[in-house]
């Protein structure tokens, strides 16, 4: 290691820890026995919210399942955020929305998970709109009267008729300091919440 001036001259610097960018609270919370839909464009904080939920559930000694339609989950950043990976079942569906829905249905039918997340965020919205509404109603029926949370991540709201809570994620700003990327700030806006 040299002096800061020398390191700057060489163009290399030790990477600092990123700033804390958790989604601390959500309007209405994630409700057990119901579908919560999180939608938003790429980079709007959907994954941050998902990882915050996984961390919260695994910290309660419960098990989680992530049905990852497009193999986009990053175990490293999840573990860095505090998710207990040994409590996480990860199903990679290789871009097949049908397999992802079927896998989520099987996991809900099997029961015992504190949270089942269905990540459809990288799939083509056109393909998602072609999913018959009956599939969403089937998922809602499967989760009713169970202590499981079903999170659906997507780009546009496709499961909203069946969702009890619908959140729209919006990116506010990226945080930079001294030319270093520190993290991002997001906002979660509740678009739908069934009165309890």
């Amino acid at each position: 290691m040299g002096t800061p001036a020398l390191r700057d001259f060489l163009g290399f610097r030790a990477k600092p820890p990123a700033e804390v960018i958790p989604v601390e609270r959500i309007p209405g919370g994630l409700v057990r026995g119901a579908v919560t839909e999180i939608c938003g464009p790429a980079g709007s904080g959907r994954t941050s919210l998902l990882i915050a939920a996984l961390r919260e559930i695994t910290a309660r000694q419960e098990f989680c399942a992530l049905v990852d339609s497009s193999d986009a989950f990053d175990p490293h950043s999840a573990a860095g955020a505090g998710v207990e990976l040994e409590r996480l079942l990860w199903v990679r569906c290789g871009g097949n929305a049908g397999h992802a829905l079927k896998a989520a249905d099987l996991l809900l039918a099997g029961g015992g998970f504190g949270l089942v997340a269905l990540d459809l965020a990288d799939l083509d919205p056109g393909a998602l709109r072609r999913i018959p509404p009956a599939s969403w109603y089937r998922l809602r029926r499967a989760i009713e009267n169970t202590p499981t949370i079903l999170l659906v991540l997507d780009r546009e709201p496709v499961a909203r008729p069946c969702a009890s809570v619908a959140l729209e994620m919006q990116r506010q700003e990226a945080v930079w300091s001294d030319r270093l990327f520190q993290g991002m700030r997001f906002e979660a806006v509740c678009r739908k919440r069934k009165a309890g």
């Binding site: 989604v23 941050s48 860095g80 015992g112 009165a195």
Partner: protein, 436 residues
Amino acid sequence: MFAALHSPDSSFPLLECARSFSPFVERSSGQTVVFDISSRNALERLQKLCAGAAAGVSAAVARNPDTAIYAARGLGGFTRIAPGREAEALRNLPLGLLGAAPGIRETLERWGVRTFGELGALPEKGIVERLGAEGGRLRKLARGEFERPLVPPEDEPRFEEEMDLEHPLELLEPLSFLLARLLDQLLKRVEAVAALRLRLTLENGAAHERSLRLPVPMRDPRTLLKLLQLYLQAHPPEAPIVKVWISAEASKPRALQHGLFLPLAPEPDQLELTLARIASLAGEANVGSPELCDTHRPGAFVMRRFAATRSLNRRSTLSAAYRTAGRPLGRAPSGTSGGLGPVFPQASRVEAVKAAPDRWPPYREPPQRVFRPPRQADGIWRNVVQAAGPWRTSGDWWTADPWARDQWDVALADGSLYRIFRDLASERWFLEASYD
């Protein structure tokens, strides 16, 4: 004294020969048996047996079992090693005979250690410091100094059922009936099944085998049958079936005391079935629990078998229950009567804010969505408004698969943020992940 008898020919009756010398016989791996031998007559008989037997049969007598085994495997013929001369006798044997774990073997090869003698000549303290207790054990084995008692195998009862078919079976449905019948017969004899082995003999003479290791002992024939059906659907035999053989590894049934305050967990029987069903959809390699590898290679992980056992509860379940009970609970929305309450606290208007460190431990990295494999970014032009980097990393240069790269975090004009890198070997650009 201990004698080892080795034959590369699997048809040679090693066990019977050894039992003619001693009732205490240990079957070692790789067509070798070892037994205790004491009388001069027995030694002479063993020497004659070795000389008169078919080519390739070798025997060795030494002060400890492992020295006798290595000498029989490596020296050939009949060898008698006098006490105190073990290291000298084993000196020229190749290190591959030692049966070291692949990681240790690779390390020793990199050190240039090729024979028992070279390993035995290394200082014990240095070996243990670098390779741990296993390294010390291997050094003792190489010097012929490792002492242990014989471990004669126990004959375990075998639970098997088989059925020869008059007509070859081609369809899964009639096969399921047969499997159900065989499983019923098996489960009458065992309390619970820890593992199942299925062997289907095919019309073309080939065998189709599957071993099914269960996470917990099971005794529900329907669950076991369904697991076999799912396997056969995913891996159908390539020819009609003429014989069905099934074997069970018996175990004690699972006894479990449920508690009021235990956290939610899937039932192991049901989970196994669910995982098998999902694996038949998505592929076995795509279902599991990620485990990070002990390496600096970016994104390295392996998929482990997911096991929802309560033994994962590292903290006490009672304290977990108190922690859960301490969280704010609320009512579920109408129509969701099963709700136990929101996971996150209620708030009328919420913004994602920088968290208090005591409540949320800092992220090492903001959450990302990765592109697998990384997308080639050569020829893609976007307006980068801010960038951080490069972070130069490299590793595994001592293996056949080295990596070296310069990494940047970039913000584009549309507000999106990406992690990109330049592979230093190919000098190409890649898009690795987007921050989300």
